[in-house]
Symmetry: C2
């Protein structure tokens, strides 16, 4: 164990591209960045001192202290199988995958899950990102906690089930919400407007949801049971938007007017 | 015309309860507040100097200068018909209703539409609320503009079609988004967590959407085509949430992976 050193980053996507620089800045030595697309590996490695970009798994060093897997969920078990018995402390960064999918790669494994949305080219201050950790032993948990606390001020434990719940809620609160904003943007663009006109509304919607809870903050024609306006609204939408609109309006009406639990 | 004076507010709901105090603060004399529920009329009137709370339409004074209708969309035409020929300058505050639904009440009418979400008990600084105006004559438009500019810094013209589009987009960006936050909150509550843990994520989601557009900012398993995580996520949801989740995940996949236009 004592001869192991440094960190291998497996992945060069949105999460890896935010996490690796944070680790680098915290003093960890990133030895390699792996991506199936060498250009992605090169781009990320260039931001990380002397990290080596690689695109073949047989080039992964066998003596790193930490292996961090930031790949799509379905690639995690696959890569742990292909790098069977490598050893070192392995962790993945996924919200939805149990820790033990890494077990083939090493007897020491866990999770370091940053609950944030990352996009390449958009810097995020990792210190403010909530990080949820899990490991297969108390000793490994402390090692992962040490890493997490060097990059974030907000570190908590979460087992696989709690993490799955956090991730599922995040998909509603982030991915799906963002998709609705895209639709609002498209509806406005079709009339020569921009989403900017809605920024005061969007900001107040968020502030109010935080202040009094989103359930209490719900307003709008669907909550009031105003179906006439629904019929007018769909006239300015594409068929896809109209279908989505009707469905969400019905969901809100079911919740607030028929008292059907969420 | 010169003997007409003051303002009658028809409605005592969320919009009226934000708009009437802003008009009062701008120096307008609110003479009456009408609501079918007298208690609502009383509660709002109490915040407005000497306004009289009323719950019968035959008590509405006939010599006000301005009549502002902040009722549900379906009540607007009804009340204009019941107060036929009252005269004065009438305006409603609805995003989805044409101005001319007020025509029975007066030959002078228009719209003063505040594009914001209002909830009673939550103060909003009206100065920062975008207000869209429309009227049946240039002279009436200038009168409505004068009122709007006394209460808001952001006043623009919008005809009924543009207003309908703004309102439809606002339903996506505000009402529907808020409903998704409610669902996230419920998913977390079921596991003993609170929505608070997602605030950094929610704030960054909004900041990123503003910075690079929501379309470009889209991330998450649905965009990546990761259907395995969808199947795990639904295990921590109620059947209603699971149905909504699958539908929105499919919409995102259709948009980003099949390139189907919004």
């Amino acid at each position: 164990m004592s001869s192991r050193r440094g960190v291998v980053i497996l992945g060069a996507g949105n999460v890896a591209s935010a996490l690796a620089p944070a680790l680098d800045a915290a003093g960890y030595s990133i030895r390699q960045v792996f991506s199936r697309d060498i250009q992605n590996a090169v781009t990320l490695a260039e931001t990380l001192g002397s990290a080596e970009p690689i695109d073949r798994l047989d080039a992964v060093v066998g003596d790193a202290e930490f292996y961090i897997v930031s790949l799509t969920d379905k690639a995690i078990a696959d890569i742990a199988g292909q790098l069977k018995g490598t050893g070192g402390l392995w962790m993945h960064t996924s919200g939805g995958i149990p820790a033990n999918e890494l077990a083939p790669a090493s007897g020491d494994y866990g999770v370091l899950y940053p609950l944030q949305t990352f996009s390449k080219g958009r810097p995020v201050d990792f210190a403010d990102v909530p990080v949820f950790i899990e490991a297969n032993t108390p000793g490994n948990l402390e090692k992962i906690r040490e890493i997490a606390e060097k990059i974030s001020k907000i570190v908590s434990e979460a087992d696989s089930n709690k993490r799955l719940r956090l991730h599922a809620a995040a998909v509603f609160a982030c991915n799906f919400v963002n998709y609705l904003w895209s639709n609002a943007d498209a509806i406005l663009a079709e009339g020569g407007e921009s989403l900017e006109v809605l920024y005061p509304l969007i900001k107040e919607t968020l502030a109010k949801a935080i202040a009094i809870s989103p359930y209490a903050a719900q307003t709008g024609p669907a909550r009031r049971g105003d179906s006439a306006v629904t019929e007018r609204h769909v006239t300015v939408m594409t068929p896809r938007q109209a279908t989505l609109y009707r469905l969400l309006a019905q969901e809100i009406a079911d919740t607030y007017l028929k008292d059907i639990p969420l």
